[in-house]
């Protein structure tokens, strides 16, 4: 599948779960050393990410490369690892 195709099967839950995994496993430690307080916008299928102090600028960078995609967004330093272990009902945050 082309990287730029929308992901019709990726629900908000799946997008968030994949985004959390990428951020917590691959990016958190590195980015908290250098970019704390800035925003990272992650394209979860490719793992590519875009950083800026202004979230709208980071989103603009991401959308320039992936205009059809939805992204997972974190303000660096505000998401902790224990989030993955926290018991939460699926879709609880939606409704």
């Amino acid at each position: 599948m082309n990287d730029n195709n929308p992901s019709p099967n990726l629900s908000p839950d799946e997008l968030t779960r994949k985004g959390e995994e990428i951020y917590l496993n691959d990016l958190k430690d590195k980015l908290e050393q250098t970019n704390r307080g800035e925003y990272v916008v992650i394209e979860v299928d490719s793992g590519k990410y875009f950083i800026d102090k202004d979230v709208t600028v980071a989103l603009e960078k991401a959308k320039t490369e992936y205009p059809q995609k939805l992204f997972f967004i974190v303000q660096i330093g505000t998401l902790q690892r224990n989030t993955l272990n926290y018991k939460q009902a699926k879709n609880e945050w939606l409704f």
């Binding site: 989103l59 989030t83 926290y86």
Partner: protein, 136 residues
């Protein structure tokens, strides 16, 4: 931008519209200086605006629990200017105006506690008056 102070909470009037909307909607939001985002809206306020979904966002609350919301882009109209801002949307959200938005509009927030008034205005801080050396 008009602001209000009820003795405990600070509110402001905002005008916002979706990318494809021509008509802006007026909303009254509470200013939350502990909220680093721009604007948070519950579903029932956000959907009629036609905001464009960009993705999801996650963060950890002070008690260690995770919190999630949708992130949309909307157009804020303030003092005749149009600014594209991120809007955090979730079912349980309150209509909050965060520090990010106050920074974006580059105004100063002045609270007159005595008269319960709020002002958003540009002001320049005067440089301190140079003190004269004490003559002995």
């Amino acid at each position: 931008m008009n602001g209000y102070f009820d003795g405990e909470r600070i509110y402001a009037d905002i005008e916002i519209k979706g990318v494809f909307s021509t008509q802006a909607t007026k909303l009254k939001g509470q200013i939350d200086t502990g909220y680093s985002g721009y604007l948070s809206l519950p579903f029932n306020e956000a959907f009629p605006l036609g905001l464009v979904l960009q993705g999801t966002q996650a963060y950890t609350l002070a008690d260690g629990s995770p919190s999630y919301n949708f992130v949309c882009l909307g157009t804020l109209i303030v003092d005749g200017r149009e600014l594209v801002i991120p809007v955090d949307v979730s079912a349980k959200a309150s209509l909050l105006i965060g520090i990010g938005l106050l920074g974006k509009i580059q105004n100063n927030l002045l609270i007159d506690f005595e008269n319960k008034k709020v002002l958003f205005k540009e002001f320049k801080i005067k440089p301190p008056i140079a003190s004269k050396p004490v003559e002995k």
